[in-house]
């Protein structure tokens, strides 16, 4: 390969090109200015998005990575630039999102001296990244970048931080690039274990009431088709975790709904009735399991996962099937006997009917009273033919959207699951729109969450990003309000909110918007919002005391789910 002499910062650009990066989110600053100078020379090689806050940059990169499957790239400065991406790193770590975050750092000779804008980025980020590494020599840049992308992407994905000292950015180096294909201390894909695969198949073949729990591992492994074949062959009903949503389309016959605290009645209750529980690429989060001591005790548990450390972490497994779901699912499917579990599957219908009558119909088709969150979500989903990408913020808006938005395509649900980061939504929606430019992005948020990263309307304005923003405004921090009503004797401490005129704010950013307060105006407003491919802000005044049901109160068991009517 031809060797070229260049600055470290240019070496970084060339390394990013080698990794096929085409979009970068970021924010400049003093200790990363040399990299941004190099970026100026390479501005035709990348789509660069200047967000209005570093937190916006990293959440946008997360949204981008989640819809596209590519690694999100962020470049920020040292000190406050780096600490502003911490929330996003923790979020990406919990939600297994591949990111490479490049932070500037003070010159190597100043390290440890409390220099201006110095933070111990490695020390701060180690617990919340898959890998974090400080580059102090320009010559290390290609090696470290290659390793960073390999680590972020392969196996269970996650965020990686590269902290580059200012002198390494300007030092001269010889550029040659070699992609990382192997790290001897890291085995991203556990070897298939034929014995466990056979055991799992036998257990499923002998099951009378099997049930599958679908997690994001299916999406990350691109194993949607393999999952469908698996479920169909042995006739296994499936529930989805929050992050697993859209791996199965909403109308797939064996899809029985959302698991967890605000999930559907059927998949939650049936977890306590099934005889074989098959978890696929999910990690038994406490929001899914409720009280672990009472969780699926009657069932044998088969756990498909790529991450060995997830096995037996929360739920004791009978058989662990380690590996990428794309390989393990077909291996097990091959050994399955075609089966029919008609009566078992029909038993979900009782729950479905009960939930429909007692929760869903009143929520999505109310005939009187204030507008509900559910009816807005339902109408937007219908108006977009269930083909849009759903991005949510966190709280009631998130749970209602997850419950009532329908999916017909994979990678259509972008939300902060593990960390529950309010403010995630708006920048993530920007990233989603850039990562899937051919698709429509509908972002549901609350009056609380939108104000945590509201400044990113500026990013939408500057780059004309076609995000449809729907604010479900109940003038409360709704989810906390719900807990206060149920568990804290209606003492609404710090949850009521006086809000600005959101469409007016949008107008200031050149974004068209409208506020709806009456049910009769809703359809017309949605139609107006979707009339073109431009950003739009729709504020809907919804009922103040709306509640998300069903609900498994924290610490209770999944079959103690309450309907709240």
């Amino acid at each position: 390969m031809e060797k070229k002499i260049m600055k470290g910062a240019e070496g970084l650009m060339c390394s990013l090109i080698e990794e096929n990066v085409n979009t970068i989110f970021g924010y400049p600053g003093g200790q990363i200015i040399t990299v941004f100078d190099a970026l100026y020379s390479y501005r035709d090689s990348f789509q660069y998005i200047l967000t209005r806050h570093e937190q916006g940059a990293i959440h946008a990169a997360q949204g981008y990575a989640r819809v596209s499957g590519d690694t999100g790239v962020v470049i920020v400065t040292s000190g406050p630039g780096a600490t502003n991406v911490i929330t996003g790193l923790a979020d990406a770590m919990l939600d297994s999102t591949p990111l490479v975050v490049i932070t500037g750092q003070v010159g190597a000779s100043l390290l440890g001296s409390d220099a201006f804008q110095e933070t111990d980025v490695i020390g701060v980020t180690q617990p919340i990244t898959k890998w974090s590494y400080q580059i102090r020599k320009a010559s290390e840049i290609p090696w470290a970048v290659a390793r960073a992308f390999y680590i972020a992407r392969e196996g269970r994905p996650g965020p990686v931080v590269l902290d580059i000292t200012k002198d390494a950015q300007s030092e001269m180096m010889e550029f040659t690039y070699k992609k990382c294909i192997f790290i001897r201390s890291y085995q991203p894909y556990p070897e298939l274990q034929p014995e466990n695969i056979a055991q799992a198949a036998e257990m499923i073949n002998n099951a009378k009431r099997p049930m599958a729990l679908v997690g994001q591992g299916v999406l990350l492994g691109h194993a949607e088709d393999e999952l469908k074949a698996f479920l169909k062959k042995a006739d296994i009903p499936a529930g989805s975790t929050l992050l697993g949503l859209s791996a199965l389309s909403s109308d797939f016959s064996l899809y029985k709904g959302l698991l967890g605290m605000h999930g559907n009645l059927g998949p939650n209750k049936k977890t306590a009735e099934c005889d074989v529980l098959i978890a696929i690429g999910m990690r038994f989060d406490d929001r899914v399991t409720g009280d672990l001591k009472k969780y699926a005790k009657q069932a044998k548990v088969i756990h498909f996962d790529i991450d060995t450390s997830e096995i037996d972490k929360n739920v004791k497994t009978s058989v662990a099937v380690l590996g990428n779901a794309k390989e393990t699912l077909p291996a097990v499917t091959e050994l399955l006997q075609p089966a029919q579990h008609t009566a078992w599957i029909q038993s979900f219908e009782v729950c479905e009917k009960e939930e429909m009558e007692r929760v869903i119909i009143p929520e999505i088709m109310p005939t009187a009273g204030p507008i509900t969150m559910g009816e807005v979500v339902n109408r937007v989903s219908e108006a977009t033919n269930h083909e849009a990408i759903l991005v949510t913020d966190v709280g009631q808006n998130q749970m209602i959207a997850a419950r009532y938005f329908k999916f017909s395509r994979s990678r259509s649900m972008i939300t902060s699951g593990g960390l529950g980061t309010m403010g995630f939504g708006l920048p993530a929606a920007i990233g989603a729109a850039l990562g899937a430019p051919e698709r429509r992005v509908c972002f549901f948020t609350g009056d609380g969450g939108i104000q945590m990263t509201l400044q990113e309307l500026g990013t939408i304005m500057q780059y004309k990003i076609p995000v449809k923003i729907i604010i479900l405004n109940n003038s409360f921090l709704g989810m906390v309000r719900q807990w206060q009503e149920l568990f804290y004797r209606e003492r609404y401490s710090s949850t009521p909110m006086n809000n600005p005129d959101f469409p007016k704010i949008a107008e200031a950013y050149g974004i068209e918007g409208r506020k709806v307060t009456k049910r009769e105006e809703l359809d017309d407003a949605i139609e107006e919002m979707l009339k073109d491919n431009k950003a739009y802000l729709l504020e809907v005044e919804v009922e103040e005391n709306g509640m998300v049901y069903p609900m498994i109160p924290a610490g209770t068991s999944v079959d103690q789910i309450i309907l709240g009517d």
Partner: protein, 180 residues
């Protein structure tokens, strides 16, 4: 589940910051590290950590898996005291007067098989290798002679198993290297 003392051995690449990556896993689980020894291993470029901590079997399994999950960690193992030959070193500093004026010291040194590393006009230094209870017992025994300083190292341990698991692991991993 019963809490006992486990010896956790960890082999890592020689990168800055590995110690922090390992200890924070204990911190998150509120497990106190009783002792910690870090040194180069017999294989160039690979560092070995020997950690002892009191916890139960289920927890030690989870901790070891989470340590191994760190990218630059090659392999981690846990052992009970029955699985390993282990040792610690203790040093005892005693004032010269107490040392020279007490004929009993000789019999104590003999009995415990301690070594005398240094004697000068001010003090003497004894050394004893052994398990914690043994080095502690000598400390208790020497107390009456006024121990000026006492220090004990972390545990080092070698497995009783005849299989060299790290070299097997390295060979297995290298076999996966597409560039091989």
């Amino acid at each position: 589940m019963e809490k006992i003392l486990y010896t956790i051995t960890v082999y890592t690449e020689n990168f800055v910051g590995l110690l922090n990556q390992i200890t924070i896993i204990f911190t998150r689980r509120q497990i106190n590290i009783e002792s910690l020894t870090v040194s180069k291993s017999s294989i160039p470029g690979i560092h070995k950590f020997t950690i002892t901590a009191e916890t139960d079997l289920e927890m030690v399994k989870k901790v070891v898996k989470q340590i191994e999950k760190r990218i630059d960690v090659l392999k981690a193992f846990y052992h009970t005291d029955d699985d390993v030959i282990y040792q610690e070193v203790a040093l005892y500093k005693i004032g010269a007067e107490a040392l020279l004026d007490n004929p009993e010291i000789e019999s104590i040194v003999r009995k415990y098989n301690a070594r005398i590393l240094e004697v000068n006009r001010s003090y003497g230094v004894l050394e004893l290798s052994g398990h914690t209870e043994e080095t502690q017992e000598l400390f208790e025994r020497l107390k009456e002679f006024h121990v000026l300083q006492f220090v004990r190292s972390g545990r080092i341990a070698i497995t009783k198993s005849t299989v060299e698991r790290l070299s097997d692991f390295l060979a297995e991993m290298e076999a996966r290297n597409p560039d091989r």
